[in-house]
Each structure stands twice: as C-alpha cells, then as structure tokens.
Symmetry: C2
C-alpha cells in the first residue's frame, strides 16, 4: 500500500462528532407468513409497550420490538428478575432485523457466500439482575427479537426498557424542506431517501450501516451528490477523499474501499470504474464546495487515476476485456463490462478535464481532451453497432442496459442521438438488465440528462416507489420488482436494507424536480 | 427478609482483594471417545503452543486449548487477521470446560433441570482486527474450545495469545507444606484439595466457581474447617458469617445461601440442617480465631437458630418429618431426613453449648444442655432400633448411611458403642447409600471420631483417591465410583467439578494424619 501520511492525517482530523437521538420502541409485533407480502412476511401488532412492560418471561419465551423506523445505533436494555432471587445467569438471544425476514427466518438457514457474521445476533449471559446492559456493538435495525433461552425454575425476567441511541453525522436540521406543492409520493420518496443517506452517514459515508459498514468510492460518489443537496456535510466528503488519496494500491490506483478501524487502511480490492470515480468525486466536491485548496492538493491523485485508467486501452483505444480486471458496474452475473468500463473512463475524463480547467492545469487539460477525442471515436468505431442502434460490449458483442446507460452518461453521441438511444433502450429493453439501485440510479440520471424527465419520474416511481409500497423505511441495496427475494449473496437475510447507493431519489428530486 | 444493616455493612467491609496469577495454556488437545475413560473421554495432545500460534483458522475450524490445571478467572484473547484486510466481523464460539465432556459433548444436548445458562459458552463477534479482547465474565475451566464460525472468503484468523488471570482470595504462600514423610498419594490428595478450596475462595467461600458461584452455609462449614488448617483466611469466614447473620428469613432463620450481587441479599431457600450449622460455624470460627468480639456479636443469632431448630420437635423430642420441611443431608432421592435432621440438631446444640460456655452465657448454656439430654434420650427411645443395631428414620423406619453417620457425629451413643455403630455400618452397608462428597466427608469425619483411622484413610483413598485416578484437577461436587456419569441434575455437563464440599481431604490429612 502507498501511504501518504500527511493526507491520512488530514482525513483523520476530520472525523466528525456523531449526533445522537434517543429512540424507544413503539409496539410489539409478530411476523406473519403471507405469500402476498414482500418477501413473504407481514407484521402485526400483538401488544402495546405498556402491556409488554408488565409481562414476565421464562425459558422459551420471546417477543419482537418494533421501533417504527430504521435505526443505526447503540442499544441499552434494562431488565430485572421476577420471583425468587435469580440463582442462575439469564441466557438471552437477541436478533436485530432491518426487515421482517430477519426476525422471522432462522439465521441458521443462511448459506450464502458473504460471511454469516453480518447477520446481527447476540447470545448474552446476564450474571447479575437487575441490570442495565449497554451493548457495545452498533446495530442497524427496526426490529429486535428477544428470546429468553433460559432463566431458572426460580425466576423469570421482566424488561423495564429497551432503547436505542441512534447515531449519524447527518444533521437533519440542515436539510431544506421541499416546496409545499411537491406531490405526496415525491415527499415520501425524498424523506426515505434522506433517511437512507442519514443512516449511512457515520464517521465516513458507509455503503450500508448493517453491511459492509465501510467507505466504497462507488457509493461515496452518489452519497456526496445527494449530500450536497441535503445535509451539506462537505467536510465528511473531504475526509473520505483524503482517506482514498492517502492510501493507494501499489501502482497508485485508488482502492475500491477503505476501512477506518483499528486505524485507517485501504482494502486490496481494485475496481476499474471505482478508481476512476475518484476524479469525478473530486470534481463534484469542488463544484459543490469551492474548496480550491483541497482540489489543488488532491488533483495529482485524480489525474493519476485517469492515467491508470488509460493504460488499459488497447491500440484501438478500447479497454481490454479479459480475466485480469474487475469493473463493478452492477451485480449482474452475465454482464460484460467492456463498454460500461469504456464509458466510465470517458465520463471521468470529462470531469477531469473540467476540473483541470477550473484549476488552470492547461497541459493536463489538453492531454485529457486529446484522450477524450480518441476514445470517443474508438467507442463509436468499435463499440457502436449501427444496425442495432446500441453499444455492444465484449467479444460476444453483448447489448446490455448498463452499456447504453453509461455511454449515454459519457455523452459519446450528440444530444439528440443520445436521447434516441435512451428511447430505444426503454422500447427494446435488452435482456441483460439491471439488478441494483446503483445501476437504476444511472438509468434515471441518463434519462434526466437526455431530457426525458417524465420517463425518469415514472421509472423512479416504478422502482423506489414500489420499494415504499413494499414497506421500505430506508431504500435497499438490492431490489428487483420482478424477483423480490433477489440476492446476489445467496440469501435475502444478508441483503442491506439501508444502502447508500439507493439514496439518490432525493438528489433527483432536489436537482431536477424542485 | 430481616435485614440488620450494621451486620451487612461489617460483612461488606470485609470484601477481600483477590490475588491474581497469569496462566498460559500448555498445549492443544482433542477429546477422544474411549469407553474405558472417565465419562467416556480421553484427551490427547495434537499440537504444541508454538505450532498453534503459527496456524491460521477459517470458517469451520476449531481447536481446544489445555491450560494444564483447573482455573477460575478472566480470559484475554489476542488475535489478528491473515490475508486481505478483514471485510466482515469475525464470529467465534467459545466453550469453557472443567472436564473433557464439556468440550466434547454439545451443550445443545443438555436437557437437565438446572438452568442451561450455567454451561459456559460465548458467541462473539469481533468487528475490528487485530484485537485484544478481555472477556468480562469469570470462567471456571481447564479447557477452552474455540470454534471459528465465520471469517469471510478474504481472511483467516490467527491467535497470538490466549491467557487467564486466575483469581482467588486464598494465598497459597500461607499454606504450610506437609511433612516430608507424608506418602505421595496423600501429598497429591492434599494438593488437589487445597486447589479445590483455593478456587472456591473468592469474595465469599463459593460452593462451586462454575456453578452455583455463591455462598451456601453447608459448604461454608467444611470450607472454613479446611481453611483454618491451610489458607487461614479467617476474615473471609467472618465476612460470610456476617452475611448470613445480617440477612435472615422472616422468622429469623438463617437462609441456606446468600448472593453478593448487585448488593448482598439472601436467597429464599430454607434448609433445616443448614440454618442450624450457623451455630456450628460460629463455634468453629471462635475456636480457630479466638475472635471473641465477633462471637459475642453473632451469638444471639446462633442461639436463635438452635431455638428455631428445637421448635420442630414433637412432644416426644423427635423432629417432625412431613412435607413442610427440607433438610438437605445429601442428594439421595430416597433418603429420609428425620434421623439425620435430629442428629444435626444435636450436633449443633452441642457446639452451641460449648460456645455458650466459652462466652459465659450460663443461662443459655444450661437451657441447651437440658435440650441435649432430652433429645439424646428421645433419639435412643424412638429412633434407635436395638434389634438391627441402627438408627431408623421416618415412618418407614429407614436405615441409611446418612442416619448412622450423623448420629455418630452427634455422639448419641457412648464412645465404644459409637465405634461399633460405624463398624456395623461398614460391615452391613445398608442400601440407602451416599451420593455426594459432602456426605462422604461426614462418613470420614465419623470414622476419625470413633478412632477408625485406618478405615478412614482407606475410604478417603477409595473415594477422593479414585477421583484422582479419574483425572481430577480439583475435587468434584458429585462422584459415585460405581456410576461415573451420575448427576442429580440430568446431565454430567452441568455438574461442578471444583466444589467446596469436596475439599476436605486436606482437613483430614492436616488434622488427623500429620
């Protein structure tokens, strides 16, 4: 890893104080199997909070608290014994769920490829009662299931209080209310998107506060764009940029993600598109903040990312597609990444050129401009299929949504033809579709870009609006209206149900619809 | 509960500082099923400590550390990741075992009537690596099984260190070495008994540091007797006496056991024999310490216990045997408690009379003496069966070991006939036998009392000596050489393998054999 300690130190000096909010549960519920419900689970109230406090629980008893909204924070439990003095420890199991499936389906059933350690549960032994237990880990949940695994024959346990200190570095007071004329469905979508972003804003912009709880540059780019129009915590973006800049892979590429603990360190994951996004993120940050000092200091690293990206071009000016790279783009197992990768390169070169212009780096600006011209031409020559009217990708000339969306965002075609490309995409709907809100974001962004505002809004409603219909308190990492149990990880239990890259409806609403 | 805060405060002022000792594991072992081994499990070394530190462990891997001796204390774990930066929490399961069965047989199989919360296990999530984890709970173990339930596909975990800060209020430096001529088997038995006592000596004399981890007066009496000849921590006995004296049941009876946390409080368990033992404990304490001030202060409570015990006599002078009482005596499901209860009353009255004499309480001494005479006579008239040559108990005139042993200890018969009673007991061996080291203790004590020293030593060897053969590092709560998986609780997993009432070989050796 290449460490620039000065940059890392600047990042660490920007660790924010988190705001805390005390939240109490609102009711007790049970999850009820219902094939018509999202993922097969409804919730229904079984008891009020006051009734719950009067219960006592023995071996084998359990209950589920509903906090009424998505939370990220620290949980405290006050509990006492009922009956004889407790003559054995209390054994409890806690399960935290963002969604009903997590408290309804046993975690033992999980057999996916992501670590089962992400499933939020605790086995607890309480040696002394009464007790106030402050759980040391941070959880991400709306529901808590409490199972009393054992007391003893001589006592039961009663719960006096369970609460959450919710945390975020996003201050809701800084978010402007939407104009009063905004339709209610848009108001709701904005509110949920803002909540999604807020819950992901911790000491970095996390991708998901349940999983993976860390800073990915692909998520950062979208979070930062939403943040500039909502929480306006520019210092948090700055911290994240310095983290990526301060710790790079051996060849100078920005890592795909960064960990904060026990000390800041970069992951060894390299993603072609994510490294390039550093330049786009820095451009966006400068545009939003006007912070020239940071832009100047980080420009060489942004420029270096563009140069590293360019090295992947073959003689024709097309990115090499082989087994040596990973370009993220989307979680679609059959998606070829050549055309989307080419488009991301162009997209980022264009933002790099604009930033070079702002910073008066004439030589670098000129060099980037040359490359843009060369690659744009190569894209049209080698990746554009005139007969189909689509960009194709890879040796098999795959036609995917991702390729068209990213080429549209890269503005390879002139505006009118770019709009026609999007129209054709929607009309013909190629079979290699989109699987994540991250990819859907780029579709919506492309539709707004080419002036198809109504279509963009319709698609937002059909996607994020449908998530709301399906019970989203915050927007999800993964959503396919046609396959609601979809998970690329082997189980929807481990999906993240508050995920950064899904927060952008507020960005679209505030940028294009206000 | 009757609280005398002044007495409780005196007890709390005597909370000892615990001595700590750092202990490291000695090797890695596996438990191997072997029908010929104690409880069916052998252990064998699989790796040295140095080899273990060079391993890395992934999902599904596990190992068992052997610390080489029984320990009570706090465990720390130093661990680090191997491979890529850890991108998911580490999920570990720890299982602590005093005995191989605990790390070999799954706790899920436990279905006994004591709380499963006593089984020592932890499910742990480590969010940040490397880490040094100090587990907050106290464990009682020789073996630790570590199961790596999950890491992620990107990393494994390596263990740099696992150690234990062992704790006790028994200072081994105060224990006199045995004379050098003492046979090796007696040296070993003494050493293990002293270790048993030491591991039970915490901020009170606990019955068992694994289970139940609290102060019972039946155990206290034997621990104190062993302590006076070994650790000589008289203040710890004093603290325990003040705890029992300061918190009594509604009618003034001393409770059977006391809890320390979150504040000192008495259990609601009432045992006929245990309450009476308060007087015997105070007598023993005064004899050992000469602490007249404490004896004076607690005498009224000791005397009251005798009066409460006397209230249970019927017109004939025999304790009433019905469903309203519980006299512990031993864990034998068919044992009738009338004769043993009667004998314990006499035994304690005699110690009460002696203490009254020391404290010059002439009136009370005279009253107790009258009662002794009356009850001794009643015992011979109503409970002695001249034809069988045994004491009988209950409506069914049961002949048990416990009745004879306790009547011998109460010295109802003159010395020669008392010795003959013990000879007859050993010769005829009534079918209602003994199930605990607690009852065995009283058998041995009775044999020494009546001058049958060789028989006492032979029985010690046949019982505690056999435990050593079976692998005891400390002496056990329960042991039946003829049924080595015996547990009154439904599973030997939950038996305590370091138990106060089993520590008395050191008392016998140092009192009668040095």
């Amino acid at each position: 890893m290449l460490i620039n300690q000065k940059l890392v130190d600047k990042a660490e000096a920007l660790i924010p104080e988190l705001q805390t909010t005390s939240v109490k549960p609102s009711r007790l519920i049970e999850a009820v199997a219902d094939e018509t419900a999202f993922q097969g689970w409804l919730t229904q109230q079984v008891m009020s909070l006051q009734e719950w406090k009067e219960q006592s629980y023995g071996k084998g008893d359990s209950f589920v608290l509903d906090f009424g909204d998505h939370l990220v924070g620290y949980v405290s439990i006050s509990l006492k014994s009922v009956g004889s003095p407790p003559d054995a420890p209390l054994k409890l199991k806690l399960t935290f769920g963002e969604m009903p499936c997590e408290i309804a389906e046993p975690f033992d059933s999980y057999n996916g490829w992501l670590s089962s350690s992400w499933l939020q549960e605790e086995l607890m032994f309480v040696d002394v009662l009464p007790a106030v237990i402050k759980l040391p880990r941070r959880y991400c949940f709306r529901y808590i299931k409490v199972e009393v695994l054992d007391t003893s024959v001589k006592y039961k346990v009663a719960f006096e209080d369970i609460g959450c200190e919710a945390v975020s570095s996003g201050d809701l007071a800084r978010v402007e209310p939407l104009p009063s004329g905004m339709p209610e469905d848009m108001q709701a979508m904005d509110r949920i998107a803002v909540k999604t972003l807020q819950d992901c804003m911790q000491t970095v912009f996390e991708d998901g506060p349940k999983r993976d709880r860390r800073l990915w540059i692909g998520d950062l780019r979208l979070q930062a764009q939403a943040n500039y129009l909502t929480f306006r915590n520019n210092d948090l973006v700055k911290r994240c940029l310095y983290l990526f800049a301060g710790m790079r892979l051996e060849d100078g590429a920005v890592a795909a993600c960064v960990f904060e603990k026990p000390h800041a360190h970069a992951d060894d994951t390299r993603l072609y598109d994510y490294a390039l996004f550093f330049a786009a993120c820095l451009f966006d940050y400068y545009e939003a903040s006007g912070d020239r000092e940071t832009a100047e200091e980080l420009w060489p690293i942004a420029y270096e990312q563009l140069l590293i990206g360019l090295r992947r071009l073959d003689d024709r000016g097309v990115v090499v597609d082989d087994c040596t790279w990973w370009c993220f783009t989307d979680w679609h197992s059959e998606l070829n990444k050549q055309a989307p990768g080419q488009a991301v390169l162009l997209y980022c070169l264009k933002r790099g050129a604009a930033l070079a212009a702002r910073l008066e780096k004439a030589g670098e600006q000129a060099y980037i401009a040359e490359q843009i011209e060369r690659i744009s031409a190569a894209s049209l020559t080698h990746l554009w299929d005139e007969e189909q009217g689509f960009f194709v990708s890879g040796a098999d000339r795959q036609v995917s949504w991702a390729s068209q969306v990213w080429m549209a965002l890269a503005e390879v075609l002139p505006p009118e033809r770019n709009a026609e490309l999007m129209d054709r995409l929607l009309a013909e709907s190629p079979s290699i579709g989109m699987t994540t809100p991250y990819m859907y974001h780029h579709l919506i962004e492309a539709l707004f870009l080419v002036g198809r505002k109504d279509e963009a809004v319709a698609r937002m409603n059909a996607y994020w609006g449908e998530m709301i219909e399906d019970g989203a308190d915050t927007f999800w990492e993964l959503y396919n209206p046609d396959d609601k149990k979809l998970s690329p990880y082997g189980s929807n239990l481990i999906n993240s149900y508050c995920h950064a890259w899904s927060c952008t409806p507020t960005y679209f609403i505030r940028k294009y619809l206000v």
